[in-house]
Assembly symmetry: C2
Homo-oligomer: 172 residues x 2
Amino acid sequence: MAILTMSGYLDARPRVGYFYTGKTNAHILSEKVKSITVDHYKSRPVVVNEASSVYEAITTMFLEDVGTLFVVDKLATLSGVVSRKDLLRASLGQHSLETIPVGVIMTRMPNVTFCEESDFIIDIAKKLITKQIDGLPIVKKVPHGSGYEVTGRITKTNITSLLVDLANNETI
Amino acid sequence: MAILTMSGYLDARPRVGYFYTGKTNAHILSEKVKSITVDHYKSRPVVVNEASSVYEAITTMFLEDVGTLFVVDKLATLSGVVSRKDLLRASLGQHSLETIPVGVIMTRMPNVTFCEESDFIIDIAKKLITKQIDGLPIVKKVPHGSGYEVTGRITKTNITSLLVDLANNETI
């Protein structure tokens, strides 16, 4: 019975023996999924400067092979996010991509959705769906300032990897 | 013990009583995840004709708000796939987007990764990661021909929804 006990289905009570905890498979499954934090499934962030041109941003996106870029200001704190969709929209415009700064077309703070390393990945998954975005920055508050530095990236690709690991029975 | 039996941990043997099946949480979890098929989490496909211009394809992508378009030939069978990334690359070129047919820039059959409704979603999740794509078409063989008709679309967004449902303890 030791394995069953550890698995959370049965609990031991002194002098009473084992009793059924009332948890079903679905409960234990959802508890396991809910306990995983962002730092277990993050990717490295790819960052461009606010003054970079849209053309430079597109080039960076292809070179780094990511779908979302994070835009930082002169203090290297998060000022915005730009997606493949934003860049595609901009490329349809009449203006030269070399002369428009990425800061003009990005989603700007405080309208950026972000998270921290200790957040639960399942809450991020919900945000990615409800806000219809592909990925978001993982940030840390700057020690003596008001901004956030970008420490990572979490995307639907990371969520997909998590599901594959769950199915592969990997220890998470 | 009825609930435990149904949950897969204990099996009943006539005259012998219950015995432990040897399955752990992780096993049952992975079995559950592995048993879900594509048709439970598909989206509707968005299709353009091979002769459409790149400009038309980009417009369709924005109007329908999808990240992947499926391209069909005159017989309405799958001839290729075009992603947001393909369209962004094309928009950087020197040529006019109104004059290049989408068939020129798409990934063409037989190089397209596709699946069928009865495939397991976990196998699709693995393909999305290893092939580094955002989504793929769900197809059905044309009755008396050699091609495939497109019946659906499965993307990393669908996979993310599946994970949210697992955590929400939904019946899948």
